[in-house]
């Protein structure tokens, strides 16, 4: 069975997206990426040094994966738009992950500025994937604005705390008709698996892989977990029961033979 995700016309086979920050070296990052074989990786434009002969992160990305630049460092819509345009000018892609963060303490996104940037960039022809706090009404507005997917956070960036926003993301998965991709906070492969079982279209992981003792094997483990979670979602779960069948039912008196 073919189960590909399509975003912006691109067929995505591996639903594990990977972020490229925080690795101890570009070489190790490359090894981890090769192990997980992602279809999409995201790169902070602020970290790309195209002039460097030895330290250009783009040279370490596997050829087959699509590079989605992100607007890390943007504090408002205007800065995000400017970074997106720079990314487009410097590379060959019109994909952009919008990240607008005004809050340096918790690194939580600013949904309103994110929406503004999305509206502008979609009109300019970008394939826009906005990173957001899970909020149904903003997600709907992002859909109306033409976002290609929405990327709600599982918990704060880098926190490895898992899918703390589960209830809200579940609602988004039910209601939003474009792909819902959980981005940020996933700490273990089981977190990623849980998101996929919930019906998320994909997950994006960075810190949990980058700061693992063995990033290559952790990348592999996430890949397996994402694939298992997706398979389980497609297989369909049997309904869960929170109750057993009691031997002395409280409604027994309603049965015929009692009369």
């Amino acid at each position: 069975m073919e189960d590909a995700l399509i975003i912006g016309g691109k067929v995505i086979y591996n639903r594990l997206f990977i972020g490229t920050g925080k690795f101890s070296s570009f070489a190790l990052m490359r090894d981890a990426l090769e192990a997980a074989d992602p279809s999409v990786v995201t790169v902070a434009l602020r970290r790309v040094d195209a002039s460097s002969k030895t330290d250009n992160i783009l040279d370490y990305l596997p050829k087959q994966c699509a590079v989605m630049p992100n607007t890390s460092g943007a504090r408002n819509a205007d800065e995000a738009v400017r970074i997106a345009r720079l990314a487009q000018a410097s590379g060959a892609t019109n994909w952009i992950k919008i990240e607008v963060i005004q809050d340096n303490k918790y690194l939580l996104p600013d949904n309103l500025e994110t929406l503004k940037a999305t509206e502008i960039l979609v009109k300019e022809g970008f394939i826009v994937l906005p990173y957001m706090s899970p909020d149904l009404s903003i997600a709907r507005r992002l859909v109306d604005a033409g976002a290609a997917a929405v990327m709600p956070l599982g918990s704060p960036i880098g926190s490895n705390r898992g899918i703390k926003t589960k209830e809200l993301v579940e609602i988004m998965v039910r209601e939003i008709k474009i792909p819902v991709i959980v981005d940020a906070g996933l700490g273990s492969p089981s977190d990623a698996c849980e998101c996929m079982e919930m019906g998320c279209a994909a997950v994006l992981v960075n810190t949990a892989i980058a700061i693992a003792r063995d990033p290559v094997n952790m990348a592999r483990a996430f890949k397996d977990a994402v694939s298992a979670g997706r398979r389980a979602y497609l297989a369909g779960f049997g309904s869960e029961k929170n109750y057993a069948s009691p031997s002395s039912p409280l409604t027994g008196f309603l049965r015929k033979e009692d009369h």
């Binding site: 925080k22 101890s24 602020r46 040094d49 460097s52 720079l86 340096n104 980058a210 700061i211």
Partner: protein, 370 residues
């Protein structure tokens, strides 16, 4: 409310009394706490916490990995001019020191920038002494026009400015401010800053807020360790950093912990700070403010810098020179005085190799002019 108001609230705190009241349980609770209150910071800086340095280090290391990953950002200082009207007892560029003075011409700025840029560094920190005649704002702006061609990020470490002056420099391409209060103790401040505009404690204390209000991206504060009891100084710096984080959430806040070195003149270091104290300072700051950038300069020797890295350092300088034109145009001038002596003489390539060996990615570029 400015930081000074907060400072006044705590300035007469009886540190000795509070420190002596802490139990081991208090210190351990402070290591685990996310409260970010003054009691947590005081417990982490207390003499008793020295018994729990390993626990503090483990916690600080994990927080650093979580928030910054296995990366260390590199930068280098570039001295533009050492003409100075200030009389800071601890500084080689003290107005009263009979040393030859130098100021880079714009051609020299270009040469210096080109040499630094060829090492791959993208983050530059420009410094000048305080002299309205020799290094006025117009000169800094002339330099910025050149530096923008070579670097992705430009920070300034110059005299304190007014709000509109900060706005002007930010519009000209500056994205970071480094400005050390040196000491938060007003009495000590006035003793070591004997003359010149820097004597104005309040004008300096308010400078980070003025830059933050005008949308600068990074603010880096600092105390000159050795001028006064470090536990008190780091406490007030920690509070200052938290104040800035709380009030200017879109600005990245960092702290530096330069340790005084002997230099030209007869200045005696009033309050020595040991290597162990340095470890406590870094870990306490990291635990108190997990998102705080912490810089370590080449004032510290190579081995110690490497040992302190995993405790919470996020930024180090490399290939430094504290001479005006020291990277290229005047490196060999024997009369050219360094502001302070550098202990880690390694060039950018050597520092990068060290970081790689230690399991850290050297980050040379982490911003761009947008």
């Amino acid at each position: 409310m400015s930081y000074y108001d907060l400072y006044l609230k705590y300035k007469d705190l009886d540190f000795e009394h509070i420190f002596s009241g802490f139990s081991s349980a208090d210190v351990l609770a402070a290591i685990d706490s996310k409260k970010q209150d003054t009691r947590q910071l005081l417990a982490l800086l207390s003499p008793l916490a020295e018994n729990y340095l390993e626990e503090m280090a483990q916690c600080a290391h994990n927080l650093s990995l979580q928030y910054f990953g296995k990366t260390i950002q590199l930068y280098t200082p570039m001295y533009l001019s050492n003409y100075c009207d200030n009389q800071c007892g601890y500084c080689g560029f003290n107005h009263n020191n009979q040393v030859s003075r130098r100021k880079l011409t714009l051609e020299e700025v270009e040469k210096e920038a080109s040499v630094i840029s060829s090492t791959g560094l993208e983050h530059i920190l420009i410094l000048t002494g305080e002299s309205q005649a020799m290094s006025p704002l117009s000169y800094i702006k002339d330099c910025l026009r050149i530096l923008k061609k070579y670097f992705s990020s430009i920070s300034i470490e110059i005299y304190a400015l007014t709000e509109s002056e900060y706005a002007e420099l930010i519009a000209s391409g500056v994205d970071g401010l480094t400005l050390y209060q040196e000491t938060y103790d007003q009495r000590v401040y006035s003793m070591v800053h004997k003359g010149g505009p820097k004597k104005d404690y309040l004008f300096r204390l308010g400078a980070p807020e003025r830059a933050a209000k005008n949308g600068i991206r990074n603010v880096n504060i600092g105390v000159l360790l050795g001028l006064n009891d470090w536990r008190k100084e780091v406490f007030f710096m920690g509070l200052h950093a938290k104040y800035l984080q709380d009030n200017f959430s879109s600005v990245e806040i960092g702290a530096s912990i330069p340790r005084l070195k002997a230099h030209l003149g007869d200045f005696k270091i009033p309050s020595e700070v040991s290597d162990q104290n340095m470890a406590q300072i870094i870990t306490a700051l990291r635990i108190f403010l997990p998102r705080l950038g912490i810089s370590l300069s080449t004032r510290e020797p190579a081995k110690l810098r490497e040992d302190l890295l995993p405790l919470g350092i996020t930024r180090i300088s490399a290939g430094s020179s504290t001479k005006v034109g020291g990277h290229a145009v005047a490196a060999d001038e024997s009369f050219n005085l360094a502001q302070f002596e550098i202990a880690d003489l390694r060039n950018v390539e050597e520092v990068k190799a060290m970081l790689t060996l230690k399991g850290y990615q050297p980050v040379l570029k982490d911003w761009m002019l947008i």
